[in-house]
Subunit: 709 residues, 2 copies
């Protein structure tokens, strides 16, 4: 028995270990495949087509003049032998192949999703959230979803659509969690226990998506999980850390970091910068609110119009537009996470690109690293001017196209596109502030912080803050957002700017609508999700919500004595309630318990099978002591005793109970229905659906949009 | 009304802002005073007695040969002019003054606590935890406690007792939270809302204690708070960050970090090191378990013997022993957090102390900083040998004396002493592993990781891991522990070693007893704390726990009609229940509601005051429609209608409800009592005390030790 206890105690750790291993491995493979597919749109490695650009050029000694390409890596124009044509031809060939490959990736992804696993589309976070609140969606976390989503997520990202693989990674980790939970009876058989594993899996998903184990746990806690017991916290952390450790061992980016845009800054931030940070936060909140409204409206249109019938064509059209518009702009041509990586970097003597092209009176030397802190400030150069224009166009394009992309029938993550928009916005504002400081060095706001002639503003940090602001505006994450971002910046030093941006973003966003994009999609899809973060502030009572309403038919109940098998069979046939309250008698109406429909059906079948004397007119007793059949009259139908299938401890509330408390009971105890009594007599029943409808009604939303299983 | 709504929404942010500001300020002042008081035991700054040693020597150009003292800073022997005596005399004078000052600090602290604020003793965390679970201890978070604890915590730390100010800082922040909550009616008047502020305050307390805002929030979430709504998470984070920001602006340690032992390492860790890390974790868990048992036994002895009557003398005796034994050993003579700071440092070319005294064949030069990574490895030198002996003795002494110190009637934090013990243990093991690697460079475990002749083991990291292990063993913290420690080490790189140590520590600790030191003290003090982390795994039913038991007197109830004022007054006088169930009549026993004692007393007083005709024999009606008194008989006593004071929505459970669900209802809904019914008829009542007693009984503990208010 000690052994069994030990196995029992360890199976919890084992399952999260396995989930962590699996999630880390999946993420590693997905990262590698994504990078390869993304690069292949632009060219291929001669002789070693299986290498991505970086690996291809890793050992090359023949770096081209621009420092970007090596001779082994050839663009498609070069492969097809048109690299000696005019530059227009080369451009056209590359452009065409870029579009063709993007289109084929996207349509392949859409077809795979449609044919094999329809649940693999979207980000999956709204559904995982709903599942964790107690709703069951069969197959949503199955092995087909896992397989297809793992294959299609890289395809979708590589097709240059404005989407990320970070949200889908949470869904993929959730699938791993579900599959491994079934290996352990303790977790597979018990929905509540399984949800603990799923919470841990969600943490692992974010952990590998951003290389942020602590942020992942907090994301699971704050955003995804419904009920998060403390015991789960520690296991989730273990799971998240295992996944991150495995991913790091796989080292998909070749830089020993878990994400493409891990960054460290060498300059501190100054107090006056909180003003632009707050502004960025507010703009991020505005963008988030606008995005949520626009995206929900578009998704609603898709659902209600014919558009919804042509998912593959829709994907292809959006891909075509995206690819055609993306290629000319160097910032949209590359992968969004690579763009973010570029934008959050700080300029220094070793960084040579358009973003760092200032008109220095004297080019800074790169003798020692510490020079970064004394990096001179200068007016923007022509390269940076071009970059700013390109970024502004990219901002506009990405901001708009993401609205139409999120909700396509391919795996669509929202983290990276949101962060991309924010990073562009932040970088633009950062350069603006930098130039402002350069032009007015004596302004009282910063003349004590910044030494004249030296750079004290880091536009890269502004990009990071901007990414946090838009992500916060779209998802309304708070603590987990800040923690993820500071795990990305590798230091606690920048926690205050990130926090300021996240706060202003949330405040401004909430002013235009209280729900994040995930809650919005939950509502749009009508999932029965009872938000436990919202306070119920109305003064209605249980009696206002319960059924039957005044004038309705009386409640369908079962009485302890006096019903026949036929009565019950009629009840089951004519109604579709998932259970029936049991009362002592129609006169006293005193509540005995609750009888589940499935238990009743099974029990009646059993009775028929095991006793031929059970007929339609057999009396059924739900009492502890049923009368024994008189032996003389063996032809009488045998009575059926079903006391043992009555749930004798249903949750009850009185008719005077404020709905505030009823909502609290429903959300905290996770129940599906509560019986309403008055002085011990049954009055009615409140189901979770009634509660959700009531809340929707009070919020002036359509109460009939709520699904229920 | 918009303005009121706005004020309502903002008052939540304002109160946590104020709490954060206050907690940060308190912590800053306490840190500065503590440092000054600690230094003054050893000497004083000539002419500027208000400066601590570091400030005193800051601008001095006359650093003494040892690099430790400047000429402005004089030991007491020098002040009293005996510095030209024999070295024994000097030592004796310094020793005596050290003891005398320590004794006077400690006794002053004990006297202040005893005279002005008895609640200021101890760490306060068990009590804050109990308060957050819904128990009210009047004055525990009052302004006197705040004032006295803020004054006595530095005194206690400076007296060199084996205690820290980190736990008390949580209590102090809690006091700030309570005081500011009373400024806002929304929070002051509502206990549940006030607890939200207290949760945030606890986060701020840990945030300033360790400079770990994220760790603070997780500590509040994991260890202190009972019910932590997500909305609170964000505010707690804001509060913790504000406090940390303020503390950083005060900059008490002059190094722009928030704690004395912030550290960064330049070397990575290697996979083989997980073996010693796990060993350290297991040892930490063992120490924790032993400490908890010993400390609880000693505290029980104090409570039950005469020792408890002489708190000041006890403090003085322990201080005398501690001071006398501490002075000769350089590692115990200094403040424990300074000792930890020494132990967690890595050795490098610029570090010159006994701990880094290796027998180098060639002294490493300190030309560039990057040499740290190629720091040569060498056998231990004589200085290190001495240091190891002193550390071993310090380990033994601190390990034992802390058992007697935690629980003294002065503010006693447990974080720093536990971490100190662990840091010593870790450093000893770290040096051991380092020498092992040096002696057997070809061992297969590490020959791939470590290049011969170069140091690849960082004993300082082992000290950090050891500190995490013992702290984990004593408090059984998990995620918050790891996060606090990695915030101290300033990098995510060491999260795996810390996690490994924390996990082994918890596993080993839990094998010897499932409760942490705070839960142990909660149980020892009999606070009514219903642990929501423990699963209830027994199969008892509500009927086994409810009162009245079989053979007891019947339950004291109130009937809706037919009781007189006198009956009710007798009921109030002869019983001390906090309320009475209301039933329809003695025959039907149907439950109507619950009547709170205080409401009943108030209502009866009111009735007497407002109507002279209310006499002892006045009938009392708890029904909605009471008969109107007949106008003819004006001499009849007036009836009293008290329907409106009956709580018509009491939480009920049936007698067949498993206790597992009852415990869940109690802990999640935070209720004090539930009524037990059968078929709508009242059978009995279960109070929180009954639940706690039942759990204590099942765990084979004394059920009568539980207090209740």
């Amino acid at each position: 028995r000690t052994l069994k206890g030990l196995h029992d105690a360890w199976s919890g750790w084992l399952v999260v270990l396995l989930v962590g291993l699996a999630a880390g491995t999946c993420a590693g493979i997905i990262d590698i495949v994504t990078k390869w597919l993304t690069d292949i749109k632009l060219g291929t490695c001669t002789g070693k087509f299986w290498l991505n650009k970086e690996s291809c050029c890793w050992n090359s000694e023949t770096i081209s003049a621009s420092g970007e390409n090596c001779t082994e890596w050839k663009t498609w124009a070069a492969i097809f032998g048109v690299d000696h044509g005019s530059s227009t031809t080369i451009y056209a060939v590359n452009y065409m192949l870029y579009i063709v490959l993007a289109l084929s990736f996207a349509s392949l992804a859409a077809i795979l999703v449609k044919m094999f696993a329809p649940y693999a589309c979207g980000s999956g976070i709204p559904e995982v959230k709903t599942i964790l609140s107690g709703f069951i969606i069969r197959g949503y976390l199955g092995k087909w979803t896992l397989l297809i989503k793992s294959i299609t997520a890289p395809l979708a990202v590589a097709s240059n659509l404005s989407l990320g693989k970070e949200g889908p990674l949470v869904h993929i980790a959730g699938c791993c969690g579900n599959i491994f939970a079934h290996l352990f009876p303790k977790y597979g058989k018990n929905e509540a226990k399984k949800r603990e594993v799923l919470s841990a899996a969600a943490a692992a998903g974010v952990s590998v998506a951003f290389g942020a184990p602590v942020g992942g746990v907090l994301f699971s806690l704050e955003e995804v999980s419904y009920y998060f017991p403390m015991k789960t916290l520690w296991r989730s952390f273990f799971c998240a850390l295992t996944a991150a450790f495995i991913l790091r061992s796989i080292n998909p980016f070749g830089n020993s970091h878990l994400v493409m845009f891990y960054v460290t800054y060498n300059k501190p931030w100054f107090l006056f910068e909180l003003v632009p940070f707050a502004l960025i936060g507010a703009l991020g909140g505005l963008y988030g609110a606008a995005f949520i409204h626009a995206n929900l409206a578009w998704c609603k249109f898709r659902k209600t119009s014919k558009l919804g019938n042509y998912p593959i064509i829709e994907v292809m059209v959006v891909t075509l537009v995206t690819a055609a518009a993306s290629y000319p702009n160097p910032y949209t041509r590359i992968d969004a996470s690579m763009m973010i990586a570029e934008l959050v970097k700080e300029c220094g003597p070793v960084v040579q690109n358009n973003l760092c092209d200032y008109s220095f009176s004297k080019q800074p030397t790169n003798t020692t690293f510490s020079v970064v802190q004394d990096f001179p400030v200068a007016p923007i150069g022509s390269g940076l001017r071009t970059a700013l224009w390109q970024l502004a166009l990219a901002l506009l394009f990405k901001g708009v196209i993401t609205v139409f992309t999120f909700g396509l029938k391919v795996p669509t993550g929202l983290f990276i596109p949101s962060m991309g928009v924010g990073a562009i916005m932040g970088r633009l504002i950062g350069v603006g502030v930098e130039q402002l400081v350069y032009m007015y060095p004596d302004c009282v706001l910063w003349n004590t912080s910044c030494h004249a002639g030296h750079s004290c503003v880091t536009p890269g940090l502004y990009a990071m803050v901007g990414a946090a602001a838009t992500l916060g505006g779209v998802t309304r994450m708070t603590v987990s957002l800040v923690v993820i971002m500071f795990e990305l910046t590798g230091g606690l030093q920048y926690i205050v700017p990130l926090m300021a941006a996240a706060m202003f973003s949330k405040w401004v966003g909430d002013a235009f609508g209280n729900e994040g994009i995930y809650d919005g999609h939950i509502r749009l899809n009508g999932y029965p999700f009872l938000d436990n973060k919202e306070e119920f502030t109305h003064t209605t009572l249980a009696t206002d919500v319960m059924r039957p309403r005044r004038g309705d038919n009386p409640l369908t109940v079962v009485v302890q004595e006096g019903m026949s098998v036929e009565d019950l069979e009629t009840l089951v046939r004519t109604t579709n309630f998932n259970g029936f309250p049991v009362i002592t008698s129609h006169d006293t109406q005193q509540l005995v318990g609750y009888l589940y429909r499935r238990d009743l059906i099974l029990a009646l079948e059993n009775a028929h099978q095991h006793n031929d004397n059970v007929l339609s007119n057999s009396p059924v007793y739900f009492t502890l002591h049923a009368p024994t059949p008189s032996l003389s009259n063996t032809n009488d139908p045998s009575p059926v005793r079903l006391f043992n299938i009555v749930d004798l401890s249903p949750i009850t509330v009185t008719d005077h109970t404020p709905m505030e408390i009823v909502v609290e009971i429903f959300s905290k105890l996770g129940i599906r229905q509560a019986l309403v009594t008055h002085n011990g007599k049954l009055l009615g029943i409140i189901t979770k659906k009634d509660v959700l409808r009531h809340i929707a009604q009070l919020n002036k939303q359509d109460p009939d949009s709520i699904l229920f299983n």
